[in-house]
């Protein structure tokens, strides 16, 4: 299999031990993209980003340029950075935050300039202690070197950036919950409409919320131009993307690959990437795009890693995570653990999510531990259908945010793909995997 020789757009410095320092950043082209952006008008910067079709890398895949263009005109506009990476098996923003904080800061200032924000909050998952230290340290250096603060590089553009720690809640990765959290409240998602951040965001002002990886692409886009970026990938899925590969592979880790030109098979099996499944075991299933995504079987391995390609096949690239499960994996146990996560992390506002997650978790656990009934398998699908009527993809929503309709993804996938395995648990009164 051939892995395309695409440039490293967001991971170019990670080979250096000191990739997080200002000295290394400046010696590798750091802040050149910002200088270029500041020589253009904000509108020109925004249209350059709009032209590259930079699909948001947080999970929803909404184009960054379009997000910016939807801002309500107002005297105050906020930019908020979503660094609350918490989708299970997703660990690529964590890497960028710890290993290349200046790249993030540069992307932040470029975006702030484009939307003319003067105050930015970088919301970083509270558990990322080293990440918080690295970003604060980089930010202090960036202020001292004139890349952040008043009159940046003598351009007449000023912006303040504040690093804000979260405190442990998955739902705060949802952008309106993140804004509530940033306002010092419980992380309850807001109902949309009317609370689209671009219209009514932080403190009621128009706000853009962009993901860490999304913003980390901007310095490269500014230096190399939108045409170079668009030349990579295909269709709407341009550029490269980080994939966090985990589970039953030889080389779990974060890989930057060209979108669409790379397949799941490449990612999992190429010797320079995942390196295949250890122990000569066979692939059972993969979870593409975070645990909110429906599962794929081996028949999907040759699917290109593109947003629409994966969407059309009934799942999503989502948060850029790929979990590999080999044939020793118990599908009931895997679905149970994912469901337990959603049950723990449901904010509790909406009944289908709060109650449905608990019902599913309890039912899956009793099947897994041998106390299940044959009717439980249909019960699972019935509860899933209550959470997301029709169980289609993209899912129908019965709740304020998308956490609710994400819950059936694993459960319905496991039942549809491995129904016999559920029935064996019930018949034997035990998990066949021990």
């Amino acid at each position: 299999m051939a892995i395309t020789q695409a440039p490293r757009i967001v991971t170019s410095r990670l080979g250096f031990e000191d990739s997080h320092t200002l000295a290394r950043y400046l010696s590798t082209g750091g802040y050149d993209g910002l200088r270029k952006a500041l020589s253009m008008t904000p509108e020109a910067v925004a249209s350059e980003v709009d032209a590259v079709s930079l699909l948001g890398r947080g999970g929803a895949g909404f184009p960054a340029g379009r997000k910016w263009s939807m801002l309500r005109k107002a005297a105050t506009t906020y930019l908020v950075v979503n660094g609350d990476e918490s989708e299970p098996a997703t660990f690529k923003d964590h890497l960028l935050i710890e290993r290349d904080p200046h790249q993030l800061i540069e992307g932040v200032v470029i975006a702030a300039y484009a939307i003319q924000a003067s105050l930015v909050f970088v919301y970083i998952r509270g558990e990322f202690a080293l990440g918080l230290e690295r970003v604060q340290s980089a930010l202090n250096d960036a202020y001292e070197s004139g890349a952040v603060g008043p009159d940046i590089f003598g351009s007449g553009f000023s912006v303040d950036i504040v690093v804000h720690p979260g405190a442990g809640a998955y739902i705060c990765g949802e952008e309106t919950a993140l804004l509530e959290s940033l306002e010092g409240k419980r992380g309850f998602p807001r109902i949309k409409p009317p609370y689209f951040p671009a219209a009514i965001g932080l403190y009621g002002e128009p706000t853009v919320v962009n993901n860490v990886e999304t913003l980390s692409n901007l310095p490269w886009v500014m230096v190399n131009g939108s045409a170079a970026y668009r030349a990579l990938g295909a269709g709407r899925s341009t550029g490269t993307r980080l994939f966090a590969l985990a589970g039953h592979v030889r080389n779990p880790g974060v890989y930057e690959v060209e979108m669409v030109k790379t397949t799941f098979r490449d990612l999992i099996f190429a010797p320079v990437l995942g390196g295949g499944i250890p122990g000569g075991r066979a692939l059972k299933a993969i979870i593409p795009g975070g645990v909110s995504a429906p599962w794929f079987g081996p028949e999907h391995l040759d699917l290109p890693l593109g947003q629409d390609e994966v969407g059309d096949a009934g799942s999503m690239l989502g948060s850029g995570s790929v979990v590999v499960m080999d044939d020793t994996t118990c599908s009931v146990r895997a679905a149970w653990r994912v469901t337990r996560f959603f049950w723990r992390e449901s904010c509790g506002q909406c009944t289908p999510c709060r109650e449905g997650s608990g019902w599913l978790e309890k039912t899956l656990w009793r099947i897994e531990t041998g106390a299940g009934r044959e009717s439980d398998v249909d019960l699972l699908m019935d509860v899933c259908d209550n959470l997301s009527p029709g169980l289609n993809w993209p899912p129908q929503q019965t709740t304020i945010c998308v956490l609710g309709p994400s819950i059936p993804s694993s459960v319905a996938s496991a039942v549809r793909m491995f129904r016999d395995e559920f029935l064996v648990h019930v018949k034997d009164g035990a998990c066949p995997h021990g």
Binding site: P88, E133, R337
Partner: protein
């Protein structure tokens, strides 16, 4: 558990840092969670006295502080051990032996997940994904991450922590970031207004010049 040196009250240093945090936000309540982290840096958890003081600093009721605090996994309203050891068991770790590691941790520490050892040294938690899945199974101790953890690694880690050999790497529970922001906001709102106006003028003159 050792009593707090200030009997739960926030030290002058913490109060000063909290006031500096309040200056960073247009609305004081936004500083609530960062200030809670500061209070935990002092005591490892949020004492009732600290909650009252935080409420006064932020300008809200103590009940509102608790309303926010109770939502978040990292904020504690009862004492925790000097070291909170959190073993991830979510999907990526589960596939690579996380539950076996958690079982071992429970036996080694003699407590179930969710409990604190009798000497107050360790609180064991079963954690959700901590985004270190490339090194599964993984855990964190006071949010310092350890990957590819075997049972032997775990035992060594506990011994090292107990013996104080990791004090540099793993500060006591509550210390999130040891890098401070040494200054407040630097951009004056009036300057911003002037800049934006100048920018608008420049753009319109460029546009008319091009015509």
């Amino acid at each position: 558990l050792s009593p707090s040196p200030n009997e739960g009250r926030l030290s002058e240093n913490v109060v000063a840092r909290a006031r500096a945090l309040l200056e960073l936000y247009p609305h004081p309540r936004s500083a609530l969670i960062p200030i809670c982290h500061l209070a935990q840096e002092q005591d490892g958890w949020l004492t009732p006295e600290a909650v009252e003081e935080i409420a006064a600093l932020v300008g809200i009721e103590a009940a509102e502080v608790l309303g926010t605090v109770s939502f978040y996994e990292m904020l504690h309203t009862s004492p925790v051990g000097r070291y909170v050891v959190a073993v991830c068991t979510n999907i990526a770790c589960l596939l690579r032996g996380a539950y076996e590691l958690l079982d071992h941790a429970q036996r080694r520490l003699g407590v179930h997940a969710g409990a604190t050892t009798a000497d107050g040294a360790f609180t064991l938690e079963e954690s959700e994904c901590i985004a270190d899945c490339g090194r599964a199974p993984c855990l964190h101790v006071n949010y310092r991450f350890f990957g590819d953890v075997t049972a032997d690694d775990f035992d060594r880690l506990i011994e090292d922590l107990r013996a104080g050999r990791m004090d540099d790497e793993v500060p006591p529970h509550g210390t999130l970031t040891r890098v401070q922001r040494p200054f407040g906001l630097r951009v004056d709102p009036q300057t911003v207004r002037a800049e934006r106006e100048a920018m608008a003028v420049a753009i319109s003159s460029r546009a008319s010049g091009a015509r």
